[in-house]
Symmetry: C2
Subunit: 383 residues, 2 copies
C-alpha cells in the first residue's frame, strides 16, 4: 500500500524538488556576469554555513577529492601526521596520507566509539613533530560523532599541528563553528547536509593552514588551493565548474540561511533523538555511543533475517536504507536523517523499520517505536 | 526583436531540454541495482563513443582533473615527456607535468597552427627516453585541430612512448578511433560534445598504457585509475559519483548512439564548414589553418569595435560568444558549434555575427555570410 520512493541513505540524500528543478535550468556560461554574481552569493553563504571569515573553496569532485586536496596542499613527503580511525572514513585519511608519502600514525578507536580528546592530547605531547591531525566529525560508517570543539582546543594547546576535520556528514547538520572553535581545515560535500546532488565539495582553511600550503612540497594541480583562492577574487573557479550543481547550491544555501543555521542544527538534533529513541523502544541497540545527528546505525538483532528486513523495506515500502560498510557489512543498518529531512519523515521511518522488523522475525510492543519518537517531538518540537 | 538566449560557447555547451529534465529526476542511490544497471549501459556506450574495447573510466571533476589523472597515473618523477603547446590547453599539459616533477619538453607551435607529425617523429628519434607525448586534438583556445591519426602512427613507429590525447573538445565531435588508430590515452569531458553539464570527465587507456600505470610512482588517490577500473567490474565508481549528471549522460550517450557516431562526426564537419565559409564570406580571417569542427576562432578586424561587437550579440541578440584566452585575449572571437548544435543553428549564428559586425563598424555584402553557409548546407546536407 506504500508506493512512494524514499531515499534514506547517508549521501546522496534526497534533493528538494525546487533544487532539482533549478539544476535543470538552461545552461549558463561560467565566465559571465550572471554566473559570477550567483557565485559571489554562494561564496558569502558558504562562509555562513562554515561559520568562518575565510574563503570557502568549491571543488568539482567527490568528498574524497576534497580530503585529498587537504592532504596534498598541507603536507610534504615524510611529514608525521596523526589520524583517528574509528570507521571507514577515518581510515581513509590514513590511506590518502600514505598515498602521499606522509608518515601517518593511526590512533585506533573501536568502530562505534568516539575518540577521547585527551588521547589526542597525550599523543601530541609525546610526538611534538606531528604536523597535522585528521579527524572525522561524523563517521558515516558507524553513526558516531566526536567532540570536535574540545579536540580543537586540545590540539591548539598541546601542539603546533593543524586540525583537519572531515565535515562531509556534519556541516549543515551538527554545530560546527570553524573560526570560533579554531578548526584549521574543514571539508564537506554537496550530497549530505547541503541537500544537492553529489559532485561538489568544499574546503576552508584557517590563516595558519594557508601558511602550511605555502610550505607544502607535494605535487598538485587540479586540487591546488592557491589557484582556487586566486580565482575566488573574481568570483570564479580555476577550472570549468559544475555549473548546474552550483545553481542548485545557490538555492540550497539560501534555504539554509532562511531557516537559520542554529535551527538547522537543532532540527537535526531533534531528528536524531527521535529516531534513536524510536529504535531503542523497538528493542534495538545502537552502534554509536556518542551518536551523530546525521544518521543512526543500528545493530541487526540475531533473530532478524537481515535480507528479509532490507527487502521488505525496499520492495514493500520503497525505502532505500544503507547497510554496513567494511567490518560492519551485514551486521548493521543505517538510517539517514540529514539534509532534506523533517520531523514527520522521522516518524515515517521509525514506522517502516517496525513493520520491516516484524516481517523479519522480530517481536516488539506494537507502536512502541513511533510512540517514543512522537514523545521526543512533543518535548522538543520546533513548531 | 530577438529574445531567446543562445549559448554559443565552447563548454559548457547547450544541454538538450530532455537531458536537463533527466538530471532533475529524484535522486537515486549509487549502490543500488537501478544505478548499476544504468551505469553498465553508460560504460558500454562510452566504449562506442571512444571507439575502444578498453574500459572508459568516469571521474567526477573538470576536464583538467582527467588530464591530471593521465599524468599522475602514467609517470614517475623525472620522466622525460614531450608536449605540444599550440594554445592554452596544450600549455596546460606542460604545467601539469611540471607540477608532478616530470621533465616536460615543449614542442612549441604558433598559436593557430597545428603541429606537423614529422616534428614529433624527429623529436622522438632524437630523444629516445621520451616516455609520453601529450597533445590536444582540438585546441579550444585557437580552434585548431591536429592530425591525431598520423601522430599516433609516427609515435608508434619512432618510439616506445605512449600517446596521450586531450580529446575534451573532440570526442563526439571529430573522427577519433582510439583502438584502430592506436591512441594510448584519450581524455574527454561532459560539457562539450557530450551535451551534458560540466562535472564529469572520462579517460580510457590502452593495454600498454595500463602497464605504465603499474610502474608509475607518483602519488594519487582520488584519481587512482586502478581503483576506478576495479570498481567498474561491479558497474560502480570508487567514490560517490555525480549521480544526476550520470543520469543525463546515459540519455546523451543513447542520443549519440541513435544518431550514429559517424553521422555525429559528419554533422560537425558540415557545421564547421558552413560557419567557416560564412565567416570568410563576411571578409573575416580565421585563426586556425587546420580548423577544428568544434569551434571557429576568428580574428576581430581592426575596424571593428570589439566591445561593441560582443555587447550587440549579448544584449541585442541574447548570444553568449567566447572571446580570446591568454595571448589572444581581445583579439579574437570564438564561435562554438559542438554538441547540441544543428544546421539551422549554424545559419542563425552566421546571421547574428553579420548583424553585430555591421553594428560595430564593419562593412560587407549584405547576406553574404548566410548565403555562403547555406551553400555549404545545400552541398553537404545530411537531410
Amino acid at each position: 500500500m506504500n508506493f512512494k520512493k524514499r531515499l534514506v541513505t547517508p549521501g546522496p540524500t534526497p534533493v528538494p524538488e525546487q533544487i532539482m528543478s533549478a539544476t535543470a535550468r538552461p545552461m549558463i556560461h561560467h565566465r559571465s556576469p550572471e554566473f559570477e554574481e550567483l557565485f559571489r552569493r554562494v561564496n558569502e553563504n558558504l562562509c555562513y554555513l562554515f561559520q568562518t571569515k575565510q574563503n570557502v573553496i568549491t571543488l568539482c569532485s567527490s568528498g574524497t577529492g576534497a580530503m585529498e586536496a587537504a592532504v596534498a596542499n598541507l603536507l610534504s613527503p615524510g611529514d608525521e601526521v596523526l589520524y583517528v580511525n574509528g570507521g571507514k572514513f577515518g581510515e581513509r585519511w590514513g590511506e590518502i596520507c600514505r598515498s602521499y608519502r606522509a608518515n601517518a600514525v593511526e590512533l585506533q578507536v573501536e568502530w562505534g566509539e568516539s575518540v577521547a580528546p585527551e588521547k589526542i592530547a597525550e599523543h601530541l605531547r609525546a610526538r611534538s613533530d606531528t604536523k597535522a591531525v585528521f579527524v572525522t566529525h561524523s563517521e558515516t560508517s558507524t553513526g558516531a560523532a566526536i567532540d570536535i570543539k574540545e579536540i580543537a582546543r586540545v590540539v591548539r594547546e598541546n601542539s603546533n599541528a593543524v586540525l583537519v576535520a572531515d565535515g562531509i556528514a556534519s556541516v549543515g547538520v551538527m554545530e560546527l563553528r570553524m573560526d570560533d572553535w579554531g578548526i584549521d581545515v574543514v571539508v564537506t560535500g554537496s550530497q549530505k547536509g547541503l541537500m544537492i546532488p553529489p559532485g561538489l565539495t568544499f574546503i576552508a582553511l584557517s590563516e595558519r593552514a594557508w601558511r602550511f600550503v605555502e610550505d607544502s612540497s607535494l605535487p598538485r594541480y587540479y586540487f591546488d588551493l592557491r589557484r582556487a583562492r586566486e580565482a575566488l577574487i573574481g568570483n570564479r573557479t580555476p577550472w570549468t565548474p559544475a555549473v548546474s550543481l552550483i545553481v542548485g547550491l545557490d538555492l540550497a544555501l539560501r534555504m539554509i540561511r532562511d531557516e537559520g543555521i542554529e535551527r538547522v542544527w537543532m532540527r537535526h538534533e531533534v531528528l536524531g533523538c527521535a529516531i534513536r529513541e524510536g529504535c531503542r523502544a523497538l528493542g534495538l541497540k545502537l552502534v554509536a555511543r556518542c551518536a551523530s545527528n546525521a544518521l543512526t546505525a543500528v545493530w541487526i538483532p540475531h533473530l532478524v533475517e537481515a535480507k528479509r528486513f532490507f527487502a521488505t523495506l525496499k520492495s514493500g515500502m520503497g525505502i532505500t536504507l544503507a547497510g554496513g560498510q567494511g567490518q560492519l557489512m551485514g551486521k548493521i543498518f543505517r538510517i539517514s536523517h540529514l539534509g532534506y529531512f523533517d520531523l514527520l519523515d522521522a516518524i515515517s521511518i521509525v514506522s517502516a523499520v517496525e513493520t520491516a522488523l516484524r516481517a523479519s522475525g522480530w517481536t516488539c510492543e506494537p507502536g512502541a517505536g513511533v510512540r517514543a519518537a512522537q514523545t521526543v517531538l512533543n518535548e522538543k518540537s520546533l513548531l
